[in-house]
């Protein structure tokens, strides 16, 4: 069977061999967990606990009465030491609840199984998913329950649920390990989402550089009416709209959401989090993070409590073989360069990647030579070179809002243009003008 794909994209070196063979190891809970109130797209949470209050594992510590939002939970049991401000990898500041762990992992009494899946109504599932604070764990952190709720005034109906197991970012292998080691939960999570959406078709899309994951998932599925679809190994194969196009042939309309074409996409780790929320009622307090990079001593895939300082992860992999020139939260294509290793891991943290000077690009830009490589690789079929002229007004005519910020244009640019940085600026101006 030939692997499906879309037109465009790039083939960065993968570096997955550094960590893909390493089984998920559980990192001990931190002594102090920092739980930011912003871990999702939408309305920030407000702390629901007081300084000095005792909290249990899985207890809500932040929430807000807004539909596009998602509560946050204590990832350790202990005492609220302070309510402070934390800096997020993207540079924003967020209020955060700091919990001093008591080491007992005393579970909150709100944590209870949701019940038999066959007896749960779609509304009950959406409620359980929201209560468990589940957001897109592939990086976008979009509240999951919102994806399963078509706007009431629309005639949209969701017929297909796709679980995203592409993991097209270099270095990252956490989703690969999750598919291998938690395949049952991935499949169960898919069933839960299908029931919540009333979808008949359930698909897991996996890049064909992970044949073992494809095999394990197919074995787990057995005769059930679910499919594993191999996709070409190419960046950004796991981008939502591109993946929907590759698998279903449907085009998400400009400015629209997958559900406008009857599709919901969730990452494999999100699927596992949903499975746990239904099975045990445990909210999203843990995730698997790949810690890798060419200067990381022993790259690993670590199961980490949300709120653990990045420092703890770097210590667990034995530190660095030489001083890193850049540390990235996420992967090298879309991740954010960070300057502070005391930032906490959040629900959407898929990786911590430390790179040497040898792997990071020079900051020097040259003039665009109009080679057209950005046009060839753009998976949204835009003309990035004409967006690169921003702040020249003409850039706004070239549809900056359709850019998915994958960075393929910059990767392929021989003149080392910071095209995406300019597109981001053009996007914010275009969005402001639309309002």
């Amino acid at each position: 069977m030939t692997a499906k794909t879309f037109r465009g994209g790039v083939h960065p070196p993968e570096f997955k061999e550094l960590s893909h063979g390493h089984r998920i190891e559980t990192l001990p809970a931190p002594e102090r967990a920092v739980i930011p109130m912003i871990q999702h797209m939408g309305a920030p949470c407000e702390p629901t606990v007081q300084e000095g209050e005792e909290v249990d594992l899985g207890q809500v510590v932040g929430d807000i009465d807004a539909f596009v939002s998602s509560p946050v939970h204590a990832s350790v049991s202990g005492v609220v030491e302070s309510i402070t401000e934390s800096i997020l990898p993207d540079g924003r500041k967020s209020p955060a609840v700091v919990i001093a762990a008591d080491g007992s992992d005393r579970i909150a009494d709100t944590v209870a199984p949701a019940g038999e899946l066959d007896r749960l109504t779609p509304d009950e599932i959406r409620q359980a998913v929201r209560s468990a604070g589940i957001v897109g764990m592939g990086g976008a952190a979009f509240p999951a329950h919102v994806k399963y709720s078509p706007p009431p005034d629309s005639d949209v109906s969701i017929d297909t649920v796709i679980i995203n197991g592409c993991e097209c970012e270099p270095f990252l292998t956490c989703d690969h390990r999750v598919m291998l080691e938690r395949a049952g939960e991935v499949i169960f999570g898919l069933r839960v989402i299908m029931r919540a959406c009333g979808a008949e078709r359930g698909i897991i899309g996996v890049e064909d550089n992970k044949p073992d994951a494809i095999e394990v998932l197919r074995e787990e599925i057995g005769d059930a009416p679910l499919e594993v679809v191999p996709l070409q190994t190419k960046y950004p194969e796991g981008a939502e709209k591109q993946m929907i196009l590759a698998i279903t042939g449907r085009e998400v309309p400009s400015g629209g959401l997958p559900l406008h074409v009857g599709v919901v996409v969730n990452n494999v780790s999100t699927s596992v989090a949903i499975a746990r929320a239904i099975h045990t009622g445990m909210p999203c307090i843990e995730r698997v993070v790949t810690v890798s990079g060419d200067v990381v001593e022993n790259p690993k895939n670590l199961a980490v409590r949300v709120g653990t300082p990045i420092r703890n992860l770097l210590e667990a992999v034995g530190g660095f073989s030489e001083p890193p020139a850049r540390i990235i939260s996420g992967g090298p294509m879309m991740g954010l360069a960070i300057y502070d290793v005391d930032m906490p891991i959040v629900k959407a943290s898929s990786g911590v990647v430390a790179l040497s000077e040898r792997l990071i690009p020079s900051p020097d830009e040259q003039p665009c030579i109009r080679c057209g490589r950005c046009v060839d690789v753009c998976p949204s079929f835009l003309m990035p070179l004409y967006l690169d002229v921003y702040p020249d007004e003409s850039a706004l005519d070239y549809h900056p809002l359709d850019c998915i910020e994958c960075g393929s244009c910059v990767y392929a640019c021989p003149a080392n243009r910071q095209i995406l940085a300019r597109i981001r600026l053009a996007k914010s101006e275009a969005a402001a003008r639309q309002r």
């Binding site: 770097l314 530190g319 020139a325 360069a337 030579i369 003309m383 070239y398 392929a412």
Partner: protein, 326 residues
């Protein structure tokens, strides 16, 4: 494990994503073009003698000096390291008659870089292919020098001192004015009169294969260009292979029309650009005032690029059929 011994937070560099590049640079692309042109350059020297090497050196020297001089005048860092002026100088040399006095390539190179490129704003900003701008200027200013062709000595007889500058006509001249068809094998190997780098189809194809294999040039432009010429030659009742092999078509189709800056960036636009070059080349060859039309065909199509791009912009994803241009 204490990570602080290897971690200097002030040594961490911050930059927007992506944090990877594919390693292809302007310089590496330009050097690939130079490498691809080496067989044609060597063939030119082999067929036309040491003078061809001096013409090449003069054009390159003129281009590099002009590029460096203009950068100095503008107070900018010297930009000859990017290799683009080297490519312009070399391409200009390859489309000059081999026996010209050495001041001619220098004048052409100065015009190519100063007027063809710098006046438009430098690298990336020029509308026209600078080497062809230089050549067009020389053709208009020194028509006799630019149409005096040297007989190819071929097997290197010039090394034995038996070389004399017999003048001859190009195969396109011979067909047009005397109705004589040059044998295709001579055209393919390059034993014919013509510009110093255009005569050997074999050498040019070798370099073209290198550029295509390395992904330096897009196959669409040469394919559309050569295909159009072949079809039109057939329609005009001339052996298509003659029109493909004669004149500067191979040099133009693989090395001039594929110039990034002055060409179209859209895949569809490259096809249209190539077809347009082919049509104009054949119209000039058959009906025009010059026997050869590659230079002016490409320059005219350069001018049409903004229009071509507007109508060939890719259909953006989710745009309901709308293009990615405005």
């Amino acid at each position: 494990m204490n990570i602080d011994q290897h971690l200097d937070p002030s040594g961490l560099s911050l930059a927007p994503s992506p944090h990877f590049r594919n390693g292809i640079t302007v310089r590496s692309l330009m050097l690939d073009v130079v490498i691809a042109l080496l067989p044609a350059t060597v063939a030119g020297i082999y067929f036309f003698g040491m003078d061809a090497a001096l013409v090449t050196a003069s054009a390159i020297g003129g281009a590099l000096a002009t590029e460096a001089g203009i950068a100095r005048l503008r107070g900018e860092p010297i930009s000859i390291r990017d290799g683009s002026a080297l490519v312009t100088g070399l391409l200009l040399a390859l489309c000059l008659p081999p026996g010209v006095p050495l001041w001619l390539p220098v004048v052409g190179a100065i015009f190519a870089i100063a007027v063809g490129k710098a006046l438009f704003g430098g690298l990336g900003m020029n509308i026209f292919n600078p080497a062809l701008v230089g050549r067009a200027f020389l053709v208009a200013s020194f028509p006799t020098l630019m149409t005096t062709w040297r007989w190819p000595v071929g097997s290197g007889d010039w090394m034995a001192g038996e070389f004399d500058a017999l003048s001859t006509a190009t195969p396109l001249d011979l067909l047009r004015y005397e109705g004589v068809m040059t044998p295709l094998t001579d055209l393919f190997v390059g034993r014919v009169g013509g510009s110093l780098g255009e005569t050997s189809v074999l050498a040019l194809l070798l370099g073209a294969a290198y550029l295509l294999a390395r992904g330096v040039i897009d196959w669409r432009i040469p394919t559309a260009y050569l295909g159009t010429v072949a079809v039109l030659a057939g329609l005009f009742g001339v052996n298509p292979l003659f029109h493909l092999f004669a004149g500067s078509l191979m040099l133009g189709a693989f090395y001039m029309a594929t110039d990034y800056v002055s060409g179209a960036v859209t895949p569809g636009g490259r096809v249209v650009f190539g077809i347009g070059c082919g049509v104009l080349t054949m119209l000039i060859r058959i009906y025009g005032g010059y026997p050869e039309g590659v230079t002016f065909a490409i320059l005219l199509m350069n001018a049409a690029v903004p229009l071509i791009e507007r109508f060939t912009a890719p259909r953006r994803l989710g745009g309901g059929g709308e293009s990615s241009a405005h």
